[in-house]
């Protein structure tokens, strides 16, 4: 319990910083910044993006998940994996590839120009650009949870509905969808918070959200209280979303059922090939196209005879910090989750909610808050790997907490109770019963934290030890100098090294669960 509270307080350090900074300016200045028309417009733009992203990503995820788990889609096992892979692209790489393909001077326009077609694809930028990039590259957060939900669902309800003569549509909406609420709420929360804190995509497609505005305020440098004041609004939105999700989830019945047998697969019939085509097109847009852009950089570098810079050391650094962050985040997620799930109470729920605070804050704000506190309180830790890992944990702990919480929720306490009644101590129960049983969930959480840490940029740039290069910083250095050829190898290494653990820790366990 003390561990849980300590963890929750520690990850709220950035929050304290924001309030110190915002308060430094005094109430009149704060009110002037926050209760202004610009802030209201910013709020509308940001919420419009979050809403738009969810409106596209949720139906897309549910459709994909349903196609690969419930139908006879050709090659469904392959597509099940492929559909989750866009997660490995950092949003700045995804967005950059996006505009270089679809932008007004992109590959598509260039290819069509000789045919006299001018599609003026200005939609690659602005709201439409941010909306599509974020939805198409981050939907796997929802998709993976929904696939897991569908696998765990007892098919007897849908079969009963079908035997009563309901159409496949009606079966889906009346018998399947209602049972998916839990993963949909949890996944939507993760996606919404991700969208709120994203900087890479919105800055490249130039759609101003709170996060981008906070960055600009820091760039202006003249008054840091502006950035902090804006961040407080982000905190309020985050709290509202977390409360909403936990309220919605708390009204759901506990889902403890285990499928008695695998579901019958629905024959797609004449929809078989259109569905396949749609899945192929999606993979071309959000997987093959960005890969092609990165490979294009590499080929260009090779043709120009430029050295493609080795990425070996940077790769080791990336792997090292990502492993540390993943292990630390999962370890810290345990006390919080077990307390909330097994004992409950308002204090436990509050503590659990508090661990999410870092997730919606821009990386830059978290990094600067740690700069502020570390240089004042623990100078020896400043610019060390340890502080960098702390930053990652603050940012990504919610991913580990979500996974741990979900796997504890799916584990009936009956096993633990039985062991206790047989005289085992709590510690022994945890070690021999709970942890082994929720291991896949812990590994999935570790996989997610690992992945996002590999991709993390703003905090890495500010908090890393001097001279400490990771794959993400290498990509950043090269692209900020406009030397895309130098970015090719680190970017490929980043995507490649992320893909392996993501497949083994997240995708494969989800897909193999109860499969035939």
């Amino acid at each position: 319990m003390l561990g849980a509270i300590a963890t929750a307080l520690a990850v709220n350090v950035p929050l304290a910083y924001i309030f110190v900074r915002a308060a430094g300016a005094g109430w009149p200045r704060y009110a002037e910044v926050v209760f202004s028309q610009q802030t209201l417009a910013l709020l509308a733009r940001t919420l419009l993006l979050v809403g738009g992203v969810l409106c596209l990503a949720v139906p897309l995820s549910v459709t994909l998940a349903w196609l690969v788990t419930r139908t006879d889609l050709p090659g469904r096992r392959v597509w099940a994996v492929v559909a989750s892979l866009p997660l490995v692209f950092p949003s700045y790489v995804a967005a950059f590839a996006w505009v270089s393909i679809w932008g007004p001077k992109g590959f598509v326009q260039k290819a069509l120009a000789p045919l006299g077609i001018e599609i003026l694809p200005s939609w690659a930028y602005g709201y439409s650009g941010a909306w599509l990039v974020l939805a198409l590259f981050t939907y796997p957060y929802v998709y993976l949870l929904v696939v897991a939900g569908l696998r765990k669902m007892d098919p007897s309800t849908e079969e009963a509905a079908r035997s009563l003569g309901r159409s496949p549509w009606a079966v889906f909406f009346s018998a399947v969808l209602p049972q998916l609420k839990r993963p949909l709420y949890a996944g939507s929360l993760l996606m919404a918070l991700y969208t709120l804190s994203d900087f890479g995509a919105v800055s490249i497609v130039r759609y101003k959200t709170f996060t981008l505005s906070i960055y600009n305020a820091y760039r202006g440098l003249f008054d840091r209280s502006v950035a902090a004041s804006l961040a407080t609004v982000l905190v309020v939105i985050t709290v509202a979303l977390i409360v909403l999700e936990s309220w919605l989830s708390s009204r759901l019945p506990p889902s403890q059922v285990r499928p008695s047998r695998p579901p019958e697969r629905l024959a797609l019939g004449r929809w078989r090939w259109p569905a396949t085509l749609a899945v192929v097109l999606l993979a071309m847009v959000n997987l093959m196209a960005p890969l092609a852009v990165v490979v294009h950089w590499a080929v260009k570098a090779w043709r120009l005879g430029n050295p493609i810079g080795v990425a070996g050391e940077a790769a080791l650094h990336s792997l090292g910090v990502a492993v540390l962050a993943a292990v630390a985040a999962v370890a810290l997620s345990l006390p919080v989750s077990i307390w909330a799930m097994r004992h409950g109470g308002w204090l436990a729920r509050l503590t659990l909610g508090m661990t999410y605070s870092g997730y919606a804050l821009p990386g830059l704000v978290i990094a600067l808050s740690l700069v502020f506190f570390a240089t004042r309180l623990v100078p020896p830790l400043y610019q060390t790997v340890l502080l960098l890992v702390v930053a990652y944990v603050v940012r990504f702990l919610p991913e580990a907490v979500s996974a741990t919480r979900a796997s504890l929720g799916a584990l009936a306490p009956i096993f633990e109770e039985a062991a206790k009644s047989l005289g085992r101590g709590s510690w022994s129960v945890l070690r021999t019963i709970t942890l082994p049983l929720i291991r896949p969930g812990l590994l999935a959480g570790a996989g997610l934290v690992f992945l996002t840490t590999m991709k993390e940029l703003p905090a890495t740039l500010i908090l890393r030890p001097t001279g400490f290069e990771t794959l993400a910083t290498r990509v950043w250095t090269a692209t900020s100098e406009g030397v895309y050829s130098q970015a090719a190898l680190p970017a490929l290494a980043l995507v490649g090294t992320s893909a392996i653990p993501v497949y083994f820790l997240i995708v494969r366990p989800v897909l193999s669960e109860h499969s035939r």
Binding site: M1, L2, G3, V99, P104, K105, S122, Y125, R206, K208, A217, Y218, R219, G220, L221, F222, R224, V226, L316, L319, G320, V321, V323, L324, V327, A328, A331, L332, L334, P335, W339, H343, L364, L368, V371, F372, T375, R376, P379, Y382, Q383, V385, L386, G425, S426, W427, L430, R431, L435, P458, L461, I462, P465, T466, G467, F468, T477, S480, E481, G482
Partner: protein, 356 residues
């Protein structure tokens, strides 16, 4: 309940021990070692005779790395460089406060130095160092000094538009005859800095009018300066607003390029030389030695020959065929003031619709 949570703590402790304590993976051992080294580097106790400095550099490694290596050899001062974005590093220095490990800050633009100066974070430099460069390229308060200059120019293709037909001020770009013929990079830092200076000199309304006149004249928006130069070379546009050295870099790749630079002759803040400079954060005497080196013939020559920028020390000539710096118009502004209008400038650019 109590007993349960206590065991939990033990459990977490166990996890920590197993994951961190026993037999760390090679990566982790490596991180630990490096963390340790990074720590040692910052402890004030240094080996006798070893002189070292920490430099935060907003200029990229490929640009200043080789020069700093030469500097280490020439001065015997070991330099530890931390590369990053200019504004992120400046924000970091502000948050670090008095505890900043940085001795020197190399900035890509004057606005970031102006912001640090405004918060009193920079040390006043000796007069002889300041006077190495003309007064408009150094701090009014004497606490930072410019090292190299990047002039804003119009790059143009003489076969499509003659120099005599080019706009003689920024305001003239809004004229009907240039409709759809020019390019800008509205998200590029140099464009934004130029507009912030324009606003500081001419006021908010003048900036709104200027941006609107650009925007209404159907310009092509490019992501960055080099893309504008490529656009001019490829004939997509007739001219574009860029930094002067991009043309020289393009010429280095392809000597057959016929495009030219045009230095805007009239208008308040139509011409502008952005300054990359250095500020000193600590009392370490070596820091001043390094500043002196950066203002030396060797370092100034490096900027001239390797980056095609203007050396700011007047006795060092630019390497390429450029009009002398003294002939280029650039307003004498207080950069702390420029940084104060930066956010509003970004918003004005945003509102103008140039971006979309």
């Amino acid at each position: 309940m109590l007993r349960g949570s206590r065991s939990l703590m033990v459990g977490v402790g166990y996890l920590f021990v197993t994951s961190f304590g026993c037999a760390p993976a090679p990566d982790e051992a490596r991180e630990a070692r490096e963390a340790h080294e990074a720590n040692n580097a910052k402890t004030p106790i240094r080996a006798v005779g070893e002189r070292s400095l920490v430099v935060y550099s907003g200029r990229s490694e490929s640009l200043v790395g080789p020069m700093l290596e030469t500097l280490e050899r020439e001065t015997g001062i070991r330099i530890e460089v931390r590369y990053g974005g200019t504004s992120e590093l400046a924000a970091t220095i502000l948050e670090e406060g008095e505890n900043s490990p940085a001795d020197l800050f190399l900035s890509q633009d004057a606005a970031a130095l102006g912001a640090l100066s405004g918060e009193g974070r920079l040390r006043v430099l000796p007069q002889e160092l300041l006077e190495a460069v003309p007064s408009r390229f150094r701090s009014n308060r004497g606490d930072w000094v410019g090292l190299s200059g990047r002039a804003r120019t119009l790059v143009y293709e003489p076969s499509r538009i003659s120099a005599g037909d080019l706009p003689r001020s920024l305001e003239a770009i809004g004229s009907d005859k240039y409709r759809g013929r020019f390019g800008v990079a509205p998200t590029n830092g140099s464009f934004q800095a130029h507009m912030a200076v324009y606003r500081a000199v001419n006021g908010a309304e003048a900036l709104e009018t200027l941006l609107e006149s650009f925007s209404m004249n159907n310009p092509q928006a490019f992501p960055k300066n080099s893309a504008i130069v490529e656009g001019v070379i490829a004939g997509e546009i007739d001219f574009g607003l860029v930094n002067h050295y991009y043309l020289w870099r393009a010429l280095q790749e392809d000597p057959s390029v016929t495009a030219l630079n045009y230095f805007i002759p009239e208008g308040e803040a139509s011409g502008f030389v952005n300054v990359a400079g250095v500020g000193v954060l600590s009392e370490t005497p070596e820091a001043l030695e390094v500043v002196a080196y950066l203002l030396s013939k060797a370092a100034q020559g490096y900027f001239a020959h390797e980056t095609y920028e203007y050396p700011l020390v007047e006795s060092v000539a630019p390497s390429v065929d450029l009009p002398p710096l003294s002939e280029i118009r650039s307003p004498d502004v207080d950069f702390a003031q420029v940084s104060a209008v930066f956010e509003e400038t970004l918003e004005a650019i945003d509102r103008s619709g140039l971006i979309r």
